[in-house]
């Protein structure tokens, strides 16, 4: 059996009346990217903050490489690093100063700290920007200095809390490449994300969490097949025909149909895979045509996070815009 980087049982954190994390069970094998997927407010950040010893759990237990997160916090801190949603570097210092500062705090003497900082700036393409205050950095550069700060002492476990939220596509790809390289060198990465695509591309296993609990867990392939290979999105000309279209699609595809906020749009899961999925979708659309329902536009795509949620929980992800 492989070593577990993280193991939690019934982890609970309450803020006032809300249970942000409500009995979380996780088993994260060492040496891979483990994706934690969920909408805003699902409890991802709270869970990460507990595992990184920033918050004390109110119940249950958690272990990081066998060390209890509440009782052996210092032993945990020795092996982990965290890059939070907001830049966890000092904006009022330069990139170089930030890395030297943290390097010193990790025990390097001044010359070694400077050398280490220079190496990291080089590896992250920030040498030219090293003398500038971090508050002048672009979003992508900030993310990079942040990740560089997290690997000053190569950690055994790296928490990346929504590392690509708010980044442009180019910067996002850079972060993805960095994550792949970091994992290839033996560091376990716990990645939280709102994007199924991101988890799909990077993670070896994914836990889907909602309302503080794990609602599904598995490899990306397992997860997707539990949801259906894809989804057909249909736009009708006439909103009045939507109830009829919903009934026909549900019957033809034998799957739940989700009514979009847009009154002429519907989405339905397609259970088949590849070419068979296209065929199934085409048949369903011809059913609509046969019943005199005018379809303005349709597309067949990967299930979105919203659809994963719908399938797993029977309620849509709370934040509508993330389904895009």
């Amino acid at each position: 059996m492989t070593e577990l980087a993280i193991e939690t049982r019934g982890l609970i954190k309450t803020f006032g009346d809300t249970r942000a994390v409500d009995g979380l069970d996780l088993a994260v094998p060492a040496g891979m990217v483990y994706g934690v997927l969920g909408p805003n407010g699902a409890g991802k950040t709270t869970a990460v903050r507990m595992l990184a010893t920033l918050l004390r759990p109110d119940g249950g237990e958690g272990r990081v490489f066998g060390h209890d997160i509440a009782r052996e916090a210092d032993a945990v801190r020795n092996r982990v690093s965290l890059t939070g949603q907001y830049a966890s570097v000092d904006e009022d210092l330069t990139g170089m100063e930030n890395l030297v500062l943290l390097s010193r705090l990790l025990g390097h003497r001044k010359p070694a700290a400077k050398e280490r900082a220079a190496q990291l700036l080089e590896a992250f393409g920030l040498t030219a920007a090293g003398g500038r205050l971090v508050k002048t950095y672009s979003g992508g550069m900030r993310r990079r200095i942040d990740i560089a700060a997290s690997i000053l002492n190569t950690p055994d476990l790296l928490f990346l809390d929504e590392p690509t939220t708010g980044l442009d596509p180019r910067s996002r790809n850079q972060v993805w490449d960095i994550i792949r390289i970091v994992v290839a060198h033996g560091t376990t990465v716990l990645l939280t994300t709102q994007y199924l695509e991101e988890a799909d591309r990077l993670a070896g296993r994914i836990a889907v969490i909602d309302r503080g609990k794990v609602i599904a867990e598995g490899t990306p392939g397992e997860l997707k097949s539990s949801v259906g290979a894809g989804a057909v999105h249909v736009r009708l000309r006439d909103a009045g025909q939507r109830p009829e279209a919903e009934r026909l699609l549900a019957k033809a595809l034998d799957a739940p149909v989700y009514l979009e906020a847009d009154p002429v749009a519907l989405t339905a899961r397609v259970s088949a895979d590849g070419a068979a999925a296209a065929e199934q979708a085409a048949l369903a659309l011809s059913e609509l045509a046969g019943a005199g329902i005018v379809v303005d536009d349709f597309s067949l795509g990967q299930p979105s996070l919203d659809e994963v949620f719908l399938a797993l929980t029977d309620h849509p992800a709370t934040e509508k815009e993330i389904a895009a």
Binding site: L82, A87, E91, R104, L133, T154, D177
Partner: protein, 282 residues
């Protein structure tokens, strides 16, 4: 300094080999000592002053204003002339100004929490109080600066301490030491309160009574008896002012100095431990 932001973003492609060398597990150094970690955080505070020297305005302009204002406002009425009043009031003004600027510690702590950098410090395997001690080390420099500025203004206006340079230096040392202890109140409030504004609000509630209901401006013997109890015996600022005055006048008052020492130790014991409780729970 380069100003070219876009070029370094667009040109960057993560390379496995380059990143690999920095990821190669080199031996980890032993964790830094409590002192070394604290001094490193103190260095951070210095760097911040270096990058934004304007923040020193508080510790220079404000004390000068206070000294000039009170010397000429009250001098004639209370002591016959500003020059004579200055001999009495200068050590008091110095204490008031420095104690007032201690509250910036709370604002700094609060600002750091709002940004993510605090989380980074809290996940490091270092001596837990070191970030807090670091703030205070940086602030002690500000306290020394403010004291020296006031002393210089005082000397220009005609302040002549009987204790000479040594007495003035000893007075400043006691003041800075006490302010270090007093600042733990602000680290606690900085951690406890939600915003900079509430830290500011609280600081006025604490600092105005403490510094005005004291022997800073007048001899307490003219005050009503019940007020004298607070001003002379309870208020630690009065003991501090009496100590600084006695040192600067070359006649150290051991009893008052003993009081200041006890108050300082008590402040660190109470607010230091409350600060660390909050820091660990946050």
């Amino acid at each position: 300094m380069s100003t070219d932001t876009s070029a370094s973003t667009t040109a960057y492609v993560p390379v496995a080999e380059t990143l690999g060398t920095v990821l190669a597990p080199s031996s980890r150094p032993p964790r830094p000592s409590a002192l070394s970690a604290s001094v490193t955080f103190g260095w951070r505070a210095m760097l911040k002053i270096k990058h934004v020297p304007e923040q020193l305005f508080d510790v220079t302009a404000f004390p000068i204003m206070m000294t000039l204002m009170f010397t000429f406002l009250f001098g004639g009425a209370l002591a016959g002339s500003p020059g004579q009043y200055l001999q009495f009031v200068l050590p008091g003004i110095m204490v008031q100004s420095v104690v007032m600027i201690t509250m910036y510690t709370g604002i700094e702590v609060n600002k750091d929490i709002e940004r993510g950098v605090f989380d980074r410090f809290r996940t490091l395997p270092i001596w837990r109080p070191s970030p807090m001690v670091g703030y205070l080390l940086g602030d002690m420099l500000r306290y020394v600066m403010a004291s020296v500025v006031i002393l210089i203004v005082g000397l220009i206006l005609g302040f002549r301490p009987a204790g000479g340079i040594a007495g003035a230096a000893a007075g400043i040392a006691v003041l800075v030491g006490f302010s270090f202890a007093f600042s733990w109140l602000w680290t606690m409030l900085g951690l406890l309160l939600r915003s900079e504004k509430s830290v500011m609000g609280w600081s006025m509630m604490v600092l105005f009574p403490l510094t005005f209901l004291s022997n800073v401006f007048v001899d307490p013997s003219t005050m009503p008896g019940w007020l004298q109890v607070f001003v002379v015996h309870i208020n630690p600022i009065s003991h501090l002012v009496a100590s600084v005055r006695s040192l600067m006048s070359g006649q150290p008052n051991v009893a008052e100095l003993g009081w200041v020492l006890i108050a300082g130790v008590a402040l660190i014991a109470i607010f230091g431990s409350l600060t660390m409780r909050l820091y660990n729970r946050k």
